[in-house]
Symmetry: C2
Subunit: 595 residues, 2 copies
């Protein structure tokens, strides 16, 4: 067991009421049964094809051979299956060959794939993101030329942003685009690094969605354009080299099954890029893909954390070691370690992190569905709320699943440190997520420096409004009332801290305002997940009375995990707020030469 279908059903059908989406015409052909079928299909493919390769792909990492990256041969069948079964364009419209499946359901399915084998799951969904950009902003020629092959999985899609001197600071990219006689076609020249699936031998072609600067354009972010840069371009109906060379493959701590490439673009002055949309608007287009990818990263982290949680749970139930604290008789048999409070604490920690994160991520997925089908005020509210929540939905799971996979390793003890069990792999794989798609530090700045203040704090108000609804619901259930009060109190503190920091911004003390943005993000993340736990608890409490036995266990587990979260995690808000409101600017005053 590497995930819980029961929990996915709880999230989709008891918490989020995903069926309500079928009221909208875009989703009208669907119903609960079809949603469940999507999950079942994902489970089957995962168990049959992805899961068996989890360890193998980690131990046989991609290699660069004669300028081509060779990946695990088993990926061929997996990619083909994803293409054939329509996973890559499943959310797209019928006209585009898609199935108009809501993101809420598709992301739940993706979560299953990711929990089964994170590296393998990356290939198809990168293609989805790239194809989505082309179909949204591209001309009909671009759409017709590139997307059909991508949907089938024959051509791999990527996002090609990072360069040796431009990672977090994208405005500093130097890859150039020189106009040709065709206003849509440019000659591209530069280097791209850390490109996931940037080259591999299980596809016919790679379609890079690449940021570059048109020569003579504005400096900085305003001069960035987005290009479709295929590895091989079409000429007279067949493929020829487009001068995108693979200079290297990165060897990494984890996430080894996916090839990460270093690309030399246009070294021979023969790389053509097809402008997507208008010149100089590349970054805003790319943000569509990045925002989706950020939710995706949060989901990846959560999926890895979930697989680690279940691995350590199984071990804890089976492994005998020690006796009850109160039992001094060495003649008594040993008990399973799940009976030790400290082991239960580590399991509850993991469960609270991964199920809390999953709840938030599916909540965000539903917001993106609503953005797609709603109009006017409702659409705008969903948009603002999703904007605000994106840095949290990306960073909280990413940071916390490093710790939760660590707890899984700890439960297995010495065994957990060996390659005999999968938890060490999960620990290594989890570590990428606080880094890619914007580091945690970048998301802290995004949240505190941008999202909080958007439209005079309108997004924040919407968020507080949604939390307040849950507080009211919970306060009407006597067992939950104390938790409603605790969250209310923490929320109040968070608001105080926010006012304090915005006060600094108002006085022009920008550096002080943002110095602890990462801690602010952490605080906001804890409160958001506490809110998600209270939402889940309201439903669990309501459904508990009439539930059959197995479900009673499930709901009890939810309520206990909520209690864990409030007792052990939410209390951290106090310390964070204390630091956030401190006048000591030690991290600003510290000097390089004092280290």
């Amino acid at each position: 067991m590497f995930f819980s279908k029961r929990d996915l059903h709880f999230q989709l059908f008891e918490i989020l009421d995903s069926e309500s989406l079928t009221q909208y015409s875009y989703f009208q052909d669907h119903n609960r049964e079809s949603f469940e079928m999507v999950l079942d299909a994902a489970e089957q493919i995962s168990e049959k094809m992805l899961r068996p390769l989890l360890t193998e792909m980690d131990r046989n990492e991609p290699q660069l051979v004669d300028g081509k990256i060779r990946v695990h041969a088993g990926m061929k069948a997996i990619i083909k299956k994803f293409g054939e079964d329509g996973w890559i364009n499943a959310s797209f419209s019928y006209e585009e060959g898609g199935q108009q499946i809501p993101a809420t359901v598709l992301n739940a399915a993706a979560f299953i794939f990711q929990a089964a084998n994170y590296s393998a799951s990356v290939y198809p969904f990168l293609t989805t993101g790239a194809a989505n950009l082309i179909r949204t902003f591209g001309s009909s020629t671009l759409v017709e030329t590139f997307t059909p092959k991508m949907y089938k999985g024959e051509w791999q899609g990527t996002m090609a942003l990072t360069e040796p001197d431009a990672g977090s600071s994208l405005s500093d990219i130097t890859t150039s685009a020189e106009p040709t006689e065709n206003e849509h076609i440019f000659k591209i020249k530069g280097q791209k690094i850390y490109i996931s699936c940037g080259d591999h031998d299980m596809c016919e072609n790679v379609v890079h969605l690449m940021l570059a600067k048109i020569k003579g354009g504005p400096i900085g972010i305003k001069g960035i354009s987005l290009f479709v840069v295929p590895q091989r371009r079409i000429r007279n109906g067949s493929l020829e080299s487009n001068d995108v060379l693979t200079a290297g493959v990165y060897h990494k701590m984890g996430y080894k099954g996916a090839p990460i490439a270093h690309l030399m673009v246009g070294s021979n002055d023969d790389c053509l890029g097809y402008l997507l949309g208008e010149p100089h608007k590349g970054l805003s287009y790319m943000f569509q893909m990045m925002n989706e990818a950020r939710i995706g990263v949060g989901m990846n982290a959560t999926a890895i954390g979930t697989a680690a949680y279940y691995a350590s749970l199984a071990y804890a139930k089976e492994r005998p070691q020690g006796r009850k604290i109160s039992e001094k008789d060495p003649n008594k048999p040993q008990i399973s370690i799940i009976n030790h409070a400290d082991v239960k604490r580590m399991l509850l920690f993991q469960k609270s992190v991964v199920e809390g994160s999953l709840a938030l991520l599916l909540y965000c997925s539903k917001l993106s569905d609503l953005i797609h089908v709603e109009e006017g005020e409702a659409k705008e509210r969903a948009n603002l709320l999703l904007d605000l929540l994106t840095p949290i939905a990306k960073s909280y799971p990413s940071e916390m699943c490093c710790l939760s996979t660590s707890a899984a390793v700890q439960i297995l003890g010495g065994a957990g440190y060996t390659t005999d069990f999968p938890v060490e792999q999960y620990y290594r794989e989890a570590r990428i997520h606080p880094i890619h798609e914007g580091t945690t530090g970048i998301h802290g700045l995004d949240l505190l420096g941008r999202k909080i203040t958007i439209q005079n704090g309108k997004a924040t108000q919407i968020f507080f409004g949604e939390v307040s609804k849950t507080l009211v619901d919970a306060s009407q259930i006597s067992d939950l009332q104390p938790f409603s009060e605790k969250l209310q109190k923490s929320l109040g503190r968070a608001q105080q801290a926010t006012s304090y920091l915005l006060g600094l911004a108002g006085k022009g003390e920008v550096e002080k305002y943002l110095a602890d943005a990462t801690l602010y993000l952490e605080m906001f993340g804890i409160i958001t997940i506490a809110w998600q736990w209270l939402r889940q608890s309201v439903v669990a409490k309501q459904n508990l009375a009439t539930a059959h036995e197995a479900d009673q266990d499930f709901y009890q587990g939810k309520l206990m995990t909520m209690r864990y979260f409030y007792e052990y995690e939410l209390v951290k808000v106090g310390s964070l707020v204390k630091r956030l409101q401190s006048a000591d600017s030690v991290t600003i005053e510290m000097r390089s030469e004092w280290f």
Copy 2:
């Protein structure tokens, strides 16, 4: 740069006044110069022999070939060097061929080796620990038979405790010892797992200090005896097999350069073990080695954390990315990332963890020197204080260096996740320390369940007395007074939490009393390190006025890091205490079937 000699000198000569040890006759031949020479020698060997193999040993892990574990060939010269230069028995008396060097100085030297190449450093110091047990509790025959070869590095020493069904619960070992006609010789039979350096091809013989139960002896811990069990025994002056077979070598996430063996002992009924000391006292003997090893593990973690800190510091100074928050002009050149407050925060975090831990570990080392040379009350005080501090000195660095190496990875971003830089290796290697030599959970139980209450809390009183001295010193320096007050306040809270928990114990609620022992350990660790930072700051402040320029930077760094620790780490005590004093027993009430 992978460590700071300046900081080692600061710890040894400015904080701990190690020279004062030379007043004792055992150490009288030493002086500051000879101490510095020890450190210089360690640095030279590290740079010349250990450091160059750091990456290689990680990438070429030990393999079992024809029943023998093959390790990196470079270990031969390293082990020989350690033997020839007298490192293995350097602390032992002149009569034993040793150099009577204080543990304080030797542990500082070991720290250098460990920071250079953790895996390589393990081989010789395991032999030291094993030899130390033999010389302390063994008959002259055992001492003469085994230790000379061990001192030379020709024979490897190990501690062989863990078995498939007995890890944290040592009382459950089943390896048996059957008496023979010679009352000192037993036939040993059983299995041992996770034995560091339990077999390798760079030594002539392996000497296991092995726990086993003499048949017919008491059940549980009271029936455990300690044996010297060589891999090959001496017969007529030459070595012959002693029926200790290597069944396997563990493949691990990190710490790959050291061979960890699975041993089959006496499978052919032909394994002889030599009883060390008296029957049934094995565990108390072993605790001598374990207590040393626990300080050693804390030091290993700190050393790895230190190497990671300096790797990320160098990167942060060189890597240009982004601009000041207040700088909006993209024409301005990028600045080094060390200028970003969030990067400085991550560097200060690492510095505060590794230098705070080093200070505590060398403080503990000095206590062990005092125990060695002192008498009466002074000896007993040192003994009690070291007993109390050992779980903290083992666990705080172990837990926190997982996080500090993670911060190092984060500073390098994508680069940090690749094998192009060493930080990912440090991250993997750090993860073993919360597991071996007693998991963090076990140390929590040790601290709260045993050490706190020892002799009616005498150890705790001594600890509070020592902290109070530092508080008084700091309160007399106006800049430090606020920090003295903060620590005083946190200490008061910790005492309250302690009283609350002991109250539960008094009421017989043992499970509740110890359920959060791990959190109690965390709280105690933070306070202990805060104390070490205040101690360092008192000296830094005193010496700052008359210091030359480079030293001014050094002392400023100390004072800033102390401020960081109080602002960002000590504040966590509030949340921990809140949880520790909560009446909600969620981790006890949670049931297996609810997960």
